[in-house]
Symmetry: C2
Subunit: 334 residues, 2 copies
Amino acid sequence: MDARFTGFCNNLIVPLLCAAILLVATPLAVADPLASWNDGASKARIVSFVQDVTDPTGKNYVPPAERIAVFDNDGTLWSEQPMYFQLAFILDRVKALAPQHPEWRTTEPFKSVLAGDMAGVAAAGEHGLLELMAATHAGMTSEEFARIVSDWLATARHPRFKQPYDQLTFAPMRELLDYLRANGFKTYIVSGGGVEFMRVFAERVYGVPPEQVVGSSIRTRYELRDGKPAIVRLPEIEFIDDKAGKPVGINRLIGRRPILAFGNSDGDFEMLEYTTSGPGPRLGLIVHHDDGEREYAYDRKSSVGRLERGLDEAAQRGWVVVSMKDDWRTVYSD
Amino acid sequence: MDARFTGFCNNLIVPLLCAAILLVATPLAVADPLASWNDGASKARIVSFVQDVTDPTGKNYVPPAERIAVFDNDGTLWSEQPMYFQLAFILDRVKALAPQHPEWRTTEPFKSVLAGDMAGVAAAGEHGLLELMAATHAGMTSEEFARIVSDWLATARHPRFKQPYDQLTFAPMRELLDYLRANGFKTYIVSGGGVEFMRVFAERVYGVPPEQVVGSSIRTRYELRDGKPAIVRLPEIEFIDDKAGKPVGINRLIGRRPILAFGNSDGDFEMLEYTTSGPGPRLGLIVHHDDGEREYAYDRKSSVGRLERGLDEAAQRGWVVVSMKDDWRTVYSD
């Protein structure tokens, strides 16, 4: 609030009117919608982009309907170490279901999971992972699956931070989602994670409703179960929403090219490339995990969330590399 | 506006205040948001349902985020006779492309299309239709396809009404879409038609944005074309959004069970069944094409938009059968 204006008010004959103006103006002037971001080049690029596309008098104005912003989830909106959280769900689920499956004690990849032998799980390769998916993600209705995920989130804890997994979302990113929505953007998740897994918490945690979650999926079938219509999950991969699959998923579900894309790994490269190559103003951003103290430090050599091409080409493509260490005042929450 | 209230205003000492109230109150009191619907049971059911789910003090209140309404397109939002409009597009497109394909003059199903022999086209069966789809819907980028459809809509005319096809949308349905949106509903198209075909006109004609169109699709691939990122359409069916495919498509793209579904054929049966079997207030509606004079009259015996099971079971399931003849004051527009 400008001091001259306050002074002017004090001397004015209509103090009530002034009070009303102060009431309205003060919160706008004081609150920083991106308070978890340190002042610096990354924050400045975001704010100037948003001001640019929302200024109705500017040449870069974008109507609200076209303000589509897409966000990767694992490593971008929440952590992804020491393993993808959905993989932790799968492993926990195998353990929970094991009493009903005595044969798993002697059959891979279940045997390795039950023994906590991650090298053995990895050795089972893609086929092993598909078997684990089928055993833990299929056979039930979509509604039943949502309850299973919800129950898991309520009880499971991250091995390092000892917190529920859905508490390990990044405060600066939640703020950014809010900030974009307050500026007329429609915010989407576009992730390699399972769409029906993410929908369970995306609305509560990120404010992203189910219809704005794009993800990998398994086939489903409509059928009457006990006389009641239900969507039943089948043990068959339908779509992998990763790498070149991300622009395909975006076109399939959104049908417009986004103007802002935010990722963290080379799995997001094509999504950023597709987003930033359209006409008009565009913004591509990458979270760089360089903060081993508050979160994790990894990039080129990581098996999870590997980031190499993105780092190499970000500068020439005009993408913003966000340093978790330098750009974020807080990581999870205060 | 109540005459007593107007009189009260005339005698009042604060005429300015009254003018303001009149200004605000008049349009609300006078305008009927469903003016193209005749007063009767169908209209009453719609209005009472909307009042019911939007009354925050009522036991049937539904929060805006869950007010999902789904609409079939062919035969529900626009006409589908004498053939699906997308089929008319395919036939026109084959004729337009024929000079570049001299071999089509002697190869089915193209030969029949070029000769205007619809029995011959039908005889080529599903395989023939897939060949026509591949020749007219694939090979180009999504953006190029949208331009082709847009150009076709600008020039093609319906054989009976001599109007552009996108002028043959139903006024009562456009009003209903507006009315639902004004009451906090999110309106979706869920149609057997091609999703990228419908997206070209859905926003302009129905106010339904691309991301709220669910339809049948062919596979696409992300690639660099002439160095530019593009979504390229492949000659392979990905998903048929019809019959039991409709609830699957709804779950896949929306991820919530709708509370209102509107269709016109047995291809919509499962969508209505899925929608109306959830808990809480639900509304299922079927347009009955019984108006050969203003549009078309067909149901149980039609090859396009066949309606039999829906008519048989509507009463027991509590679905509203909307008579085009009796319930609609206008069909297309005044």
